[in-house]
Homo-oligomer: 293 residues x 2
């Protein structure tokens, strides 16, 4: 997805929002906004928003002198999600369609997003998406099932810490032997950010969520809040270019990959009017959308 | 009112919003945002927002090469309001408290604000404020009446074009002989912006609304979207410093004057969460607030 004009004020809004979570030093935050303001002229509208997001959050980290400003928040939400884990697994057990329920849960977890410039309530989200069976705005579930059945491995591009626990549940459902239900596993690679950016999951965060028990964790090499391919490492690109079944979680990865030519299933909750417009949907919608399939 | 950190992204959002009304040249708008981005570092947090607004909208005018980009919009809303005028006068005639109804109307007209970065529906606003008698969040109406009774002249600081027709109705109600109800008039000075800024009323716009029939029109000398005193001319400051009864319309004038020491009644609808917080109220509230009285 390209950068829209509406993204420009939003970069400053996000920088303000993120900085405020980390510090209440108004003078310092103003200095950060001054710097982001000066970056505006260097934002090409044909780049994807996470390319700029990468520079914005890097600047915030540098200016605050904190390499992982969201560390505590990431730990907090991983813990909250791990505490919910048994309850969520029970929901899966009791559901009519385990895979669809796991997909729903993984999208509910996508609300744990500190780059989205809005408040959220995780339990309310789970209630609405899972219990009230919120309708998908796009639901390529049949295609998802078909492609999953015909693939022997999965590339799962993760998004936020805490959400990772929800991703783990979906990975478990796609790997039946992992949950003692027999069947053949599909070796899964779970992709994380190389360096901390907002509350996006790094290797450490993914391990805390228990993902190393169900998948091979691979760093994409990027510190952008989305797998902007030109900022990823060779290893990731090799895996990505050969993958037959790719799951991409969240907005940042959608923005980075929406115009790519690989077979990708995007799983996300839309939390931004610009992305909503780009994808042709409404803010708040939940999406399971396959491309190039 | 000082500039809050939240105002910084909002200046870019306003610039985008205003530019889009005038042009659909995306490249040009990006160039405008680039310039506004570079201005961020020069915004002092102890200045009032209209001081920066002045520079932002000046830059937009210059870069678009249009001295009065909102001219047509101003004419349109003046015409719409003039068309409503007989109906609004009838509402006054039929009301229990003519002055309060006129105040309500003048606040309803304050919704015609193209600097507020949001859509509005004038007739809905009139319906809610007038017909549904929307409650004032602050209502210093008794003090307003007392001070009005004891003054022999009125300084009325206007805001937007179109809203001016609503101001005219309030001025008429404060000058009974004007509307053939007997009593003594209180010579009124209606203050306009010197140069066009957003859809704020200039002398020309005020004349179109019929204000020269009921008041002496005086330019404040400013091209800021609020009477930022240091940008006003000597003549205005002399009148202002000697005025015993001052009405200030809208957000921009509130931002410019809220910390002043003169007796001022602010009449406005709050259309911004930051102003809401500053004044201790909620976004959407309507206000008749007197200071130094």
């Amino acid at each position: 997805m390209r950068t829209y004009l509406d993204c420009i004020p939003c970069f400053l809004k996000q920088a303000l929002w993120a900085s405020r979570i980390i510090t209440n030093d108004e003078k310092k935050i103003k200095e950060i906004l001054d710097e982001i303001g000066m970056m505006v002229k260097d934002i090409p509208l044909n780049s994807s928003p996470p390319e700029t997001g990468r520079l914005v959050y890097k600047k915030i980290r540098e200016m605050l002198g904190v390499p992982d400003p969201f560390k505590k928040i990431k730990e907090k939400y991983t813990k909250i999600a791990l505490k919910l884990y048994p309850f969520l697994k029970k929901e899966i057990e009791e559901s009519k369609d385990r895979l669809l329920t796991a997909i729903r849960l993984s999208i509910a977890g996508n609300v744990i997003d500190f780059g989205a410039d809005r408040e959220f309530e995780l339990e309310k989200e789970i209630y609405e998406i899972l219990k009230k069976e919120k309708k998908f705005a796009i639901c390529d579930y049949n295609k998802f099932k078909e492609h999953l059945a015909s693939t022997d491995e999965i590339l799962y591009i993760g998004d936020n810490a805490g959400e990772t626990v929800f991703d783990r549940i979906l990975i478990e459902e796609m790997n039946p032997a992992l949950v003692h239900k027999g069947g053949v596993n599909k070796p899964t690679t779970f992709v994380v950010r190389e360096k901390p950016v907002i509350n996006d999951a790094t290797r450490e965060d993914a391990v805390e969520a228990g993902l190393s028990q169900v998948a091979t964790i691979l760093s994409s090499g990027t510190d952008a809040p989305g797998v902007v391919l030109k900022t990823t490492n060779k290893e990731f690109r090799k895996v990505y270019n050969n993958a037959k079944f790719i799951i991409s979680k969240g907005q940042g990865n959608y923005e980075a990959l929406s115009e790519e030519k690989r077979p990708i299933f995007f799983l996300l909750k839309i939390k931004c009017p610009v992305i909503a417009k780009d994808i042709g949907l409404k803010d708040g919608d939940i999406v399971l959308k396959g491309i190039n399939i």
